[in-house]
């Protein structure tokens, strides 16, 4: 399932996938795979993404 909240949070901060990837320490393709719903990140990676975007885990990764 696509993670549109992550994509919109990234867009709201005007970050490209590469910039977010560099901030978090993963490849651009990993960020793309998470946004497209092709990869489920570990909790550690989720936390790192949330810190980079200034959001909580619930806001970005909780399935409503």
């Amino acid at each position: 399932m696509k993670n549109l909240r992550l994509k919109s949070a990234r867009a709201a901060m005007d970050l490209s996938q590469q910039q977010l990837a560099d901030a978090v320490g993963v490849s651009r393709q990993t960020i793309n795979a998470i946004e497209m719903g092709d990869y489920n990140p570990s909790v550690r990676l989720c936390i790192a993404i949330c810190r980079a975007l200034g959001k909580t885990l619930d806001e970005l990764f909780w399935e409503a």
Binding site: Q18, G25, V26, S27, R28, T30, Y39, P41, L45
Partner: protein, 176 residues
């Protein structure tokens, strides 16, 4: 049993030279492709794990097929060493293809250009080594060990081409 000591000594020296050459190439590769440890993120490591599994089963499957084919038909189409090396090239090829197309081949912060140059250079070198001997690859209808360098070169060039295609696809995706 007669042991040809000069032959064995020559073989040992040859293997030692190959080992040293590989060490030098890896050190140079580290300098050209980027500084620091080769780091892969968690998704890449997962994809590599799947690629290793696929390569392993490909090798197992090939060895079983080659053994059963040899036993059931009795047809000798290549010598034993060449048959084993072909299995290795096939499984390494499967690993490389899977890693390249799941973006798990290149480590983080590494430039693909250097890797492309090294792969292409090694491929051309192996093809050259295979052709320079002017000895036939096939003798009495059997593919001999003389073809191994040539086939290794083909495998390396194939992997380099796939990597190039993937890099071009990635560049187009980034632009979009």
């Amino acid at each position: 049993m007669n042991v040809n000591l000069p032959y064995l000594a020559g073989l040992a020296c040859g293997l030692l030279v190959v080992g040293i050459a590989c060490f030098v190439v890896f050190k140079l590769a580290k300098k050209i492709t980027g500084k620091g440890r080769r780091e892969y993120d968690e998704r890449q490591q997962l994809c590599q794990g799947r690629a290793y599994k696929a390569a392993y089963y490909t090798l197992i499957g090939y060895l079983c097929f080659a053994g059963v084919f040899d036993l059931s038909t009795g047809i000798k189409w290549c010598d034993q060493f060449t048959s084993l090396m072909l299995g290795m090239f096939l499984s390494v090829g499967v690993f490389a293809v899977m890693c390249i197309f799941t973006d798990a081949y290149m480590p983080l912060h590494f430039k693909p250009t250097g890797t492309l140059i090294i792969l292409t250079g090694l491929g051309i070198m192996n093809i050259g080594i295979g052709l320079v001997n002017h000895a036939p690859f096939i003798e009495n209808g059997i593919l001999t060990y003389r073809s191994i360098n040539f086939l290794a070169g083909i495998t390396l060039i194939f992997v380099a081409l796939l990597l190039l295609i993937k890099i071009l696809i990635e560049k187009r995706a980034e632009q979009q």
